[in-house]
Each structure stands twice: as structure tokens, then as C-alpha cells.
Amino acid sequence: MLSKKVRSRVVVLTFTLLSIILVLYVVLKSLEENVVYFFSPTELYNKEDISFNKKIRIGGLVKYGSTINNQTSINFIVTDMNNEIIVSYKGSLPNLFSEGKGVVAEGKLKDKKYFIADKILAKHDENYMPPEVGKILKKTKDQ
């Protein structure tokens, strides 16, 4: 059905495309550390080569009831339900920062359980709903 010329072009293109996919996969896999925007507490816990002088980002949920607001700094716990890290931060928080919600903190680790942030970003999840529905949902969650 296909002429010889067309068939040879199909073969060449298929091989080229497959090899590009392979190369792309290998490159992205080896660069994974740089592609991820933040580490979760568990990923950090399992990580062997942690540099304490380098700036990194950690992310997770702000643990319920963990926010302590001092006059000089704000402390809270970032959790991924398996491991936790205490985060200390001086500065103003984004509007959407709240307990039970996602957060990304940029800064340096003091030790594996203590993180000093110099930038906080709020992470929004994929749930969109009107305020009334959100309130009802929160109520049922709290009970």
C-alpha cells in the first residue's frame, strides 16, 4: 500500500523519535534533583547527600495547630503525613498561607528536622469550590 520511499521514511522517523524519547528520559531522570521544585520531608529524610550550606526548597502541608507566632519569627511544622520538619521564618506570609494547606519554603537546613526559611510560597491545590461548599466540607472534616 505504502510506497517504498514512504516506508523508508516511516522507519527512519520512528527510530529517530524513539531514540529522542530515550535520550530525553535518561537526561530528565539524571537531572531529577534539579527538575523537582521542592523536597518533601520524607524525601529529605531519605536523602543521603544533604548540603546544609546550599539553599533548598521543602514543601508539604502546614500541620494543624503547629503555627507559633512570636514577635520576631513564625514557626510551623511542614508535614507529608510521614515525616515532619520544623520551619522558622521571619517576614510576611502570603495571604493563602493557612494550616492544613500546602506550602513551599525556601531556605537552608540547620539540621534534618529544622529548616530556616527566607521565603514562603503558598501552594494551591486542585480543589475549586464556592465559600459555602468549602465551609461545609471543612466542618465535616473537623468533626
Binding site: 529522542i20 523537582v36 521542592f38 514543601g59 503558598a122 475549586y128 469550590m129 464556592p130 465551609k135
Partner: protein, 236 residues
């Protein structure tokens, strides 16, 4: 299907059809915007910033969709050497690139009040920027390479390379930790967006698709005429 895109069919497209599509598009966009801006509720955490989403999501959809078509058309053009495929691909690029830019800009405007930053180099945002750069490269080749055959070949290769970026954009939010949230609408599970927000989003999506179709058809008609004119000039 492809027959409908053959030059004679396109050139005989009456202005009536364009006017019909245009009125339909205006209707969808008008109703969609009114619904999205005034009647849909604010989000329970973002407040009114959620309304940016009604432009952001359709724009991103079109930006990815157009490049997907350009990629497929380019592969088929390289294999089968069908004359009209490069023209179809070429006509899709400008509208796609504009929507890629709209997606990036509206996303940035949303990011400042929500995340607390205009821009981060996470996988989703970076790959979207790369898509825009591919669009610019693709359009520039058509613009600045004089020889048609040469421009066709180079732009096809750019389009195919850029197509590998599309699944990366789509799945970046699942493969890696990103600041950008995952999709609220998926094929496999129920949408995590309330129906009072989903309906205006779908109306806006249809309006944007109609708009893209109109711009594409107009471009395509022009490209065919240009192609025929060039051919005639060469003969003389």
C-alpha cells in the same frame, strides 16, 4: 476529513460561514465572560483571583492543542509529502503562540496573589516557557528562511522536537514536585472543581476553540492564496 481542507474547498468558503462562526464565538465568549466574572462564585481560598482561571485554562489548552496539531501535521508532511499539511501547520502557529503567551501572563498574574510570587522555575512553568520559545522558533523559520522547501523542512523538525515537550508540560505536575497544582479536570476521575465554576469554564473553552478555528481558517485561506501566487510568479 482532510478533503475539507483542500485549497479549493477552503477558498470557496463563503463569508457567510465566517460570519456564522464569528457570531457563535461572540455569543459563547460573551455568555462565558458574564458568567465567569459576575455569576460564578469566588473560590473559598483564592477569592476572586479564581476568575483568572477562566482565561488561563482555555489559553493553555489551545496553546498545547495547536502545537500538537502542528507536530502531527509536520510528521505526516515529512513522511507523505502532502502539500497542504505544512500550510495547515503554519497557519496554526500564530494563534497558538499568542495563547501560550496569554497562558504565561495570566498565570503570572494569578501566581502573585495566590503563591506570593510572579514566577518560579518549577517544571510546569519552565516547560510552558519552552513551548512558547518553540513557537517563536517555528514562526521565525517560516519568516526568515526564504527558500520554501528549506523552511518547510527546518520548521517541521522544530515542530517535531517541540512536540516532545507537550507530554512533559501535561504530566510535569504528576512526575515531579511542582508549585503548580495538578489538573482539576481529568478523563479518569470526577472533576475537583465545583460545577458552578466548571460550567463557565467549559463555555469559555468552547468560545476560545471557536475563536482559534476562525483565526486558523482566515490564516489558512491567506496562506493558500500566497502559495498559489508564489507558484504563478515562479512560472512567469
Amino acid at each position: 476529513m482532510l478533503k475539507n481542507f483542500f485549497p479549493n474547498k477552503i477558498l470557496s468558503f463563503s463569508n457567510k460561514l465566517f460570519s456564522f462562526l464569528f457570531v457563535l464565538m461572540l455569543l459563547f465568549v460573551f455568555v462565558g465572560l458574564i458568567y465567569a466574572l459576575f455569576f460564578s462564585p469566588p473560590d473559598f481560598t483564592q477569592g476572586d483571583s479564581v476568575r483568572i482561571m477562566y482565561v488561563h485554562v482555555p489559553a493553555s489548552f489551545i496553546a498545547l492543542g495547536c502545537f500538537g496539531f502542528i507536530g502531527i501535521a509536520s510528521i505526516c508532511a515529512l513522511i507523505f509529502k502532502i502539500k497542504i499539511l505544512p500550510l495547515i501547520a503554519k497557519s496554526l502557529a500564530p494563534v497558538g503562540s499568542v495563547f501560550a503567551l496569554v497562558s504565561i501572563i495570566t498565570g503570572s498574574l494569578w501566581g502573585k496573589p495566590t503563591w506570593g510570587t510572579w514566577w518560579v522555575w518549577d517544571a510546569r512553568l519552565t516547560s510552558m516557557l519552552i513551548l512558547f520559545i518553540f513557537y517563536v522558533a517555528y514562526i521565525s523559520v517560516w519568516k526568515f528562511v526564504d527558500n520554501y522547501e528549506k523552511a518547510n523542512r527546518i520548521s517541521s523538525i522544530i515542530a517535531i522536537l517541540g512536540s516532545f515537550n507537550l507530554p512533559i508540560i501535561k504530566y510535569s505536575v504528576h512526575w515531579w514536585n511542582t508549585l503548580h497544582q495538578t489538573s482539576s479536570i481529568t478523563v479518569t476521575s470526577a472533576p475537583t472543581i465545583h460545577y458552578t465554576m466548571l460550567i463557565p469554564l467549559i463555555i469559555m473553552l468552547i468560545g476560545t476553540i471557536l475563536y482559534t478555528l476562525i483565526i486558523f481558517l482566515m490564516r489558512y485561506k491567506t496562506e493558500i492564496m500566497k502559495f498559489k501566487l508564489d507558484k504563478r510568479n515562479k512560472k512567469n
